[in-house]
Amino acid sequence: MRNITLGSVAVRVGIVLLCVLWFIPTLGLLISSFRDEADVKSSGWWTVFTDPFDVSQWTFDSYAQVLESGMANAFVNSLVVSVPATVLPIMIAAFAAYAFTFMRFPGRNVLFMLIVGLLVVPLQVAFVPLLNLFGDYNLNGTFLAVWLAHTAFGMPLAVYILRNYMASLPQEIIESAEIDGASHFQTFWRLIVPMSVPALAAFAIFQFLWVWNDLLVALIFLGAGDNEVVTITLRDLIGDRGQEWHLLTAGAFITMTVPLLVFFSLQRYFVRGLTAGSVKG
């Protein structure tokens, strides 16, 4: 047992204070989303602690109401946007990462530097011309437009993460595969892809959360309407019904469910993805 000293008490008080400070805003949202409309509007959420076991004050009404007013549809849209936008870039990036790691060709370093540079580039530089380009093919407002945009915008990060991971794999394995007469194509599918699963998973989680939580790309290429995603719906709720806190809190919590689920179930991979992909933007 450790001795209880002034220092160790200070440590505990400090960390508890920080955690409470960090958790309170989310707690307020969560509690309010289960309260009655009249209660939310007439008293602070912290007043529930005077009588937390009074079951009559808890309700799912706000959730039902917000789901009916478009959030359910947006939830489906967000899934339809996020899953393909996560899967599509992976294979393209894996092939490129393989070439950057295991093949020699002129311009290799220059091209990879281009990728590293693009990691930092603000996506906004591409928006106006892309809007025009998609407009020529009537793609604006369609899922295809956001899939393409997210695939491209996620590409530098995907190539970067995967190449760095592949560079850490033992080179002898590739060499011996070559001696055994395996082609690059075979080596890629049979050896490198299975060995790179941790990095592939890390990128997939990171990209999925990025796309699900994205407002900017959705705003530009998808906009409001039948295909709108949860972030747009929530933004519109804030804009149109900014004082309806019972709806806003429930709506916000619905948009957060999927990322929080991913976060709590795959925290280890998520951390790895963040660490590797920390320069994404």
Partner: protein, 331 residues
């Protein structure tokens, strides 16, 4: 038709199958065709089969549009006539735009530093707890990382909410505290004195990013060799001296990485400002001004000029990143 969620899901599944299957088929066909070439050419061309599609995607959807954007920034609102530097001249003569630049500066000064400080504090304190409390504490600080900027804006919008009617109870935490201390209720996000509203928005970003800083810094701290700490302790150094003279120098490279990463993110900050204030009351930042110019004012020229300013501001960081990468590769 598109109203049917079932059709949408099918649509998404088809996209996955076609997209993944199509790309796989593309690689297979290209690889097969190149394989037909005589040996020397096969070796020369195959790498380009592997990287070709990635480079193509990045070029068509990122590099080429970026160059076009630079051109647009020298053209008028509808990208038809050239106007020379007029868009830039207009921007830099506009006091509001100068204010926007100052705001961006405020964000990039405070958020990375604030996140690093909080992240370091939590990492150090949690390191002294037992395993379970350490994990819980870290999860609490880290959780906001999973929340979208729009979600975070709702959470904090509720904290900052104020009611003005006589006799109304405050439902926002900040106003509840301030009024209970005897102050009049105020609309927090409209107070531009001393950039208070900017600071209230900046706090949201620190809240979101501190967890990221903590994760990286915590693993760096755990990597500090025990004997260096022990040696200092035997020499009679206090815990605070040990932290600043022994631990901090050893984790400094990680501090820089975290700082730069958050800096890059913050330069492009958009959602929080757009959702919470729309840039009103002097809170705009570059990325928000860009969207306003483009959609509210329909001026593609000025919008392009705003992004080019942002791009130019990012270039030093980009060069730094490339240098770091080269150094890392050389090791």
């Amino acid at each position: 038709m598109s109203d049917d969620p079932f059709l949408k899901i099918v649509n998404g599944l088809v996209a996955i199958v076609l997209g993944v299957g199509g790309t796989a088929a593309l690689y297979w066909v290209l690889n097969f065709l190149v394989g037909l070439l005589p040996g020397k050419w096969d070796k020369r061309i195959k790498p380009f089969v592997f990287i070709g599609p990635a480079i193509l995607v990045v070029t068509v959807f990122l590099v080429y549009p970026a160059l076009v954007t630079v051109m647009y920034s020298f053209a008028d609102a509808n990208s038809i006539d050239w106007v020379g530097f007029q868009n830039y001249v207009d921007l830099f003569q506009d006091d509001e735009f100068i204010g926007t630049l100052v705001n961006n500066l405020l964000w990039i000064l405070i958020v990375p530093a604030g996140s690093v400080i909080v992240g370091l504090l939590v990492a150090v304190l949690a390191d002294r707890l037992k395993a379970l409390p350490e994990r819980i504490a870290k999860s609490v600080i880290f959780m906001p990382m999973a929340i979208s900027f729009v979600g975070a804006s709702t959470i904090w919008g509720f904290v900052y909410a104020t009611r003005f009617a006589q006799g109304d109870q405050q439902i926002g935490l900040l106003s509840a505290i301030s009024t209970s201390l005897g102050f009049e209720p105020v609309a927090w996000l409209r107070i531009s004195d001393y950039n208070l509203n900017d600071l209230l928005l900046i706090i949201i970003m620190v809240w979101l990013q501190a967890g990221f800083a903590m994760v990286l810094l915590s693993s760096a701290i755990k990597g500090v060799p025990d004997d260096t700490v022990e040696a200092a302790r035997i020499d009679g150094a206090s815990e605070i001296q040990i932290f600043f003279k022994v631990v901090v120098p050893q984790i400094w490279p990680t501090v820089i990485v975290v700082f730069v990463t958050i800096l890059i993110l913050v330069m492009k900050v958009f959602d929080i400002v757009y959702v919470m204030t729309g840039g009103r009351a002097g809170t705009s930042v570059l990325a928000n001004t860009f969207v306003l110019e483009l959609f509210e004012f329909g001026d593609a020229g000025r919008a392009a000029a705003v992004v080019v300013v942002l791009m130019v501001a990012v270039i030093p960081v980009m060069i730094y990143q490339m240098r770091q990468f080269k150094k890392q590769e050389a090791r």
